[in-house]
């Protein structure tokens, strides 16, 4: 038995709120420390294997927390032993949580995705017979992959600049990531201006020859420190 942590929120904003049920239908509970609170539910073990509904449940709770005005989302599968352990986590880095809360309060994540069906293979120069040795082939392949990686990073930087310019005055931060043949753009924007920001994002990405998908606002999963 343990506590599954979905996210952190603001204690006074969460007080009295009805949140959707957590994993296995367990009631959501609030563990307060200072002005912050962890949004948790009791759990015996993580769902295994993980189904879409499990991820949706995690996200549904966080979206409800986001609607209160502040959501610091945890990654899937974060568990602690009990309430004292949860309070310990809140207290151990309380000042840091407060800084994160200030940065994320009233903000949502806008997300756009581009999927290239097949990643382009890096070009490898045809070696002459004398160079056709396993080591040479390996180094040439490695060189081509590195060149492709550098090109991808340059494109990400360029895309980030374009998006930042388009969302000037709206986005606090913009992140562009590549993973396999998926390119993702995430922007941190005020909740009450998410609609305008999404329109601007669609408009600037429409000039690109690729078909981008701009989704609904998310809790700011991409704008929290990876570890705490």
């Amino acid at each position: 038995m343990g506590l599954y942590i979905y996210s952190l929120g603001q204690a006074d904003l969460l007080a009295g709120r009805t949140l959707p049920p957590g994993h296995t239908g367990a009631a959501i509970e609030i563990v307060e420390h200072g002005t912050l609170a962890a949004v948790v539910s009791e759990i015996t073990a993580l769902p295994a294997p993980v189904h879409r509904a499990d991820l949706q449940r995690h996200d549904a709770v966080n979206r409800a927390v986001l609607a209160t005005g502040l959501c610091i989302p945890m990654r899937w599968g974060t568990m602690v032993a009990d309430r004292p352990a949860c309070v310990e986590i809140l207290g151990a880095q309380y000042e840091r949580w407060l800084r994160t809360a200030e940065r994320l309060r009233g903000r949502v994540e806008l997300s756009a995705k581009l999927i290239v069906p097949t990643a382009p293979e890096p070009e490898v120069a045809v070696p002459s017979p004398i160079e056709d040795q396993p080591g040479t082939t390996y180094l040439r392949t490695r060189q081509a992959h590195l060149a492709a990686q550098i090109m991808q990073e340059d494109q990400a930087r360029e895309l980030r600049t374009v998006v930042k310019h388009a969302l000037d005055g709206l986005a606090d931060s913009v992140v562009v990531t590549h993973r396999g043949n998926l390119t993702a753009v995430a922007a941190l924007v005020p909740h009450n201006q998410a609609g305008i920001a999404a329109e601007r994002l669609r408009s600037v990405l429409a000039t690109n020859t690729n078909r981008w998908i701009v989704g609904e606002p998310w809790p700011p999963y991409s704008f929290v420190d990876e570890t705490a």
Binding site: R75, V80, A81, K113, G215
Partner: protein, 71 residues
């Protein structure tokens, strides 16, 4: 699905969900945390501390000799 098939809205929603919920968000570390994404951190921590590089290399070598390694 073929490479040329266009992803449906449902696929993209799932991709977005997996990308956000499984790949992002705060990862808690510390003794109070007992698990992240189903990995028991105490168990992992003990193994990392107690196994020397030599032991890990020996173990991996034995596994490779014994057949494919499943990670």
């Amino acid at each position: 699905m073929d490479d040329d098939d266009e992803l449906t809205g449902l696929d993209l929603n799932l991709l977005d969900l997996v990308d956000h919920v499984l790949n992002k968000g705060v990862v808690l570390t510390g003794e109070a945390t007992i698990s992240v994404a189903g990995v028991d951190l105490i168990y992992l921590g003990l193994n990392v501390v107690l196994a020397s590089v030599g032991t890990i290399e020996d173990t991996l070598r034995r596994r490779i000799d014994d057949g494919p390694v499943h990670l």
